[in-house]
Symmetry: C2
Subunit: 343 residues, 2 copies
C-alpha cells in the first residue's frame, strides 16, 4: 500500500524498523511555504481549493522524513452544509454566527451529504494519494461529536463551556439529538474519506477534557461508541482526546485502534491504563520545540524509553505544532526519533 | 478557635458532624451585592480598601451556611511591589505591562516586604476575624510560584505558555532564579497572613497542569517543596493544582495537608492515588451549577459516595464559582451537601 508503511504497521501493532512519526498540524503556519500561500488566500479558500490542499498537504512531506501525511482541512468544514454559519478570524480561530442552543435550532440542522457538499475534499484526497504515489500513507480526519457540538453551541472556542454544559445538564434530550446528528455526519464524512483514499482516520476530540468521567459516560460514550462501530474497518482508527488523561479508559471503551495522548500523562502509564490493547500515539509537548536541542533530546529519549520495545507506538506531538516553532527544531525532532528508535 | 470548626477538623482528618463546604471565588460576581460594590470601585480599589475587603469577604457568609470564609484578594497583588506593573482588564483578567523574560529582568525584581507593602491585606484579615467573631474560620491564600511566574513571563493569561516554557527549556538558571524569588515572597506573604489571623492557607497553582510530569519534577517540585517546608505549621495548608490530575502524586510530594482536586478526576481515584495520607478538597464541576436541581443532586451524591465515610473531605467546586451561576443553585448546593452528608 505504501513503500514506507511504518505508520500503518504501528497502527496495527506490528513490528517496525524504527518508530514512525508525524505531527498534528504539520501542514501549517510554522512553515514559510505555508505562510506564503496563506498570504494570498483565506483559510477557507485554501481548504476548498484542491490544488492548494494538495500543495499544503505535501509541503511538510517534501521537507521532512515524515511517515504519514494528513489531509489539509478543518474540522468545522462539514458544519457549513448543516446550516452553521461560521468564519475564521484573523488567527484562524472559528467564530459561529448562529450558535445552536435550543431543540428547535438542533432540529433545523440539515443533513450532510458529503458527495454533494464536500466533493472538493474527496477530490483533494484522490489527488494527494496520486502525488504521494505510495511514498507514505495519507490520514483523513474529523472532529469528534463533543468537540463539534461545543463549537456549535458556544459559537467558537470556549473557556468554561457554559452553554454546552447547560444544554447537557438541563435539556439532555436536545443534547442527545444534536450528538446523533453529528455522529451521522461524521460516519458519512469519514467513510467517504476512506473510500476516496484515506489510509487511516483520526478523530480529534479537542475539548472533551472539560468533562468529568460521569458526564463522559452519560453524554458522550454511547455516541462515540456508535461512531467507531459504524466506521469502515478497512483502515485504522485513531482516537485522540486532548486534555483527557482522566478519561483514558472511557476513550478506549469508546473505540479506536490507536489512542492519541497529549503530553501530560506519561506514555508508559497511559499504555498500561489501556492494558496495552491499543496502539498509542504521542506525546511530546509541542512547546518542547522551543527548547534547546539538549532539552528536546532528553524529552524524546524519555518518551521512547517509556514506549519501550513494545509494538504499536507512533511518535507525535501531544497537540498541534505551534506556529512560531523554529522549523529546524521540527526537523531535528523527526530525524532524532528515527535515529534513536532504530531496531 | 471557631464555633463551626468542621472545616478545620476536616483539614486535619478528624471526624465531623457533616461535610464542610466552601466555594472558591465565593466572594465574587455571581452575587448581586458584590456587583453593586464592583460597579462603584475598580477591582484593585476593592482589593486595597480594608472596609471593602471585609464587606465582600463576608457577603457570601451572610447569605449561605458556608463553613469557611476566604479573604478577598488577588494572587497578583504582591507582584506589584516586586516591580511588576499590571492592570485588570474589564473582565478582571490581568494584563502585565512589563513581562519578565530575561535574566536581567528577573534579577531586577525587588524584594517584597509584606508589612511595608501590603499592610492593607493584614489589616483586612484582622478585621474579618473580628467581624466573624469565631463563627467560621478564615482562609488566606497565595498563587503558587509556577502560576505567578507564568503570568509574569507571558504578560497575562496564556494558552500555550510559550515564553514560560522557552525560559524553562532554554535558560533553566533564569527560571530557577525567578522561582526562588517568588518562593521567598510567598513564604513571607503566607506566614504574615497566618500571623494576622488566617486559620488555613491555600496555594493556588492554577496553570501548572500545562506541564508534563518530568517538567514538574525538574522545574517545579524543588521550589514547591521548599515553600511548604518553610510555611508556618500552626495552620493547615491546602495545595490546589488545577487541571493537574496527571501530577497528583507529585503535588502530594511537594506538600500540603489538604490536596485540592478539580472536577476531572474521580475523587475516590484521586484519594487512592494520594494513599489517603492527606485530606482532599473538591470536586464539583462549577458548571454543574447551571444544571437542573436533579442534575446537581446526582453529582453531589456521586462525590459524597466517592468520599465515603473517610475523615478529611472538604466539599468545594473544582474551580472558582462562575459569575453567571444562578445564586439559588449555589445555596441549594451548600444546603444539600450538609443535608446529604449528615453523620
Amino acid at each position: 500500500m505504501a513503500r514506507n508503511d511504518r505508520f500503518l504497521k504501528a497502527c496495527r501493532k506490528e513490528p517496525v524498523d524504527c518508530t514512525p512519526i508525524w505531527m498534528m498540524r504539520q501542514a501549517g503556519r510554522y512553515l514559510k511555504e505555508y505562510r506564503d500561500i496563506r498570504s494570498k488566500y483565506s483559510f477557507i479558500e485554501m481548504c476548498k481549493t484542491p490544488e492548494l490542499v494538495v500543495e499544503v498537504t505535501l509541503q511538510p512531506v517534501r521537507r521532512f522524513e515524515l511517515d504519514a501525511a494528513i489531509i489539509f482541512a478543518d474540522i468545522l468544514l462539514p458544519l457549513e452544509y448543516m446550516g452553521i454559519d461560521f468564519e475564521f478570524t484573523k488567527d484562524d480561530g472559528p467564530q459561529i454566527k448562529n450558535p445552536v442552543r435550543t431543540k428547535k435550532e438542533v432540529e433545523k440542522m440539515r443533513k450532510f451529504v458529503i458527495e454533494e457538499h464536500m466533493d472538493y475534499l474527496l477530490t483533494s484526497i484522490k489527488l494527494v494519494r496520486k502525488e504521494l504515489n505510495g511514498k507514505i500513507p495519507l490520514i483523513g480526519f474529523s472532529g469528534a461529536p463533543f468537540t463539534l457540538a461545543s463549537y456549535i453551541i458556544e459559537g467558537g472556542g470556549s473557556k468554561n463551556y457554559i452553554y454546552t454544559k447547560t444544554m447537557m445538564y438541563k435539556e439532555p434530550d436536545t443534547w442527545h439529538l444534536l450528538m446523533e446528528k453529528l455522529v451521522d455526519m461524521i460516519i458519512d464524512y469519514l467513510n467517504a474519506q476512506i473510500k476516496a483514499g484515506a489510509q487511516a482516520v483520526q478523530i480529534f476530540d479537542s475539548w472533551v477534557g472539560c468533562l468529568c468521567t460521569s458526564d463522559y459516560r452519560e453524554f458522550i460514550l454511547p455516541h462515540q461508541k456508535r461512531l467507531f462501530k459504524e466506521l469502515d474497518r478497512s483502515v485504522p482508527h485513531i482516537h485522540f482526546a486532548f486534555g483527557a488523561s482522566h478519561l483514558l479508559k472511557l476513550v478506549k471503551e469508546a473505540g479506536g485502534d490507536v489512542i492519541g495522548l497529549d503530553w501530560r500523562i506519561d506514555l508508559d502509564e497511559a499504555w498500561k491504563l489501556l492494558n496495552y490493547e491499543t496502539a498509542v500515539q504521542g506525546n511530546l509537548d509541542p512547546a518542547a520545540l522551543y527548547g534547546s536541542k539538549e532539552y528536546i533530546k532528553k524529552r524524546v529519549e524519555d518518551i521512547l524509553r517509556r514506549a519501550g520495545n513494545r509494538n504499536g507506538h507512533i511518535f507525535n506531538l501531544g497537540h498541534g505544532i505551534l506556529p512560531t516553532v523554529p522549523v529546524e527544531n521540527a526537523e531535528y525532532l523527526i530525524n532524532l526519533v528515527h535515529e534513536l528508535s532504530k531496531r
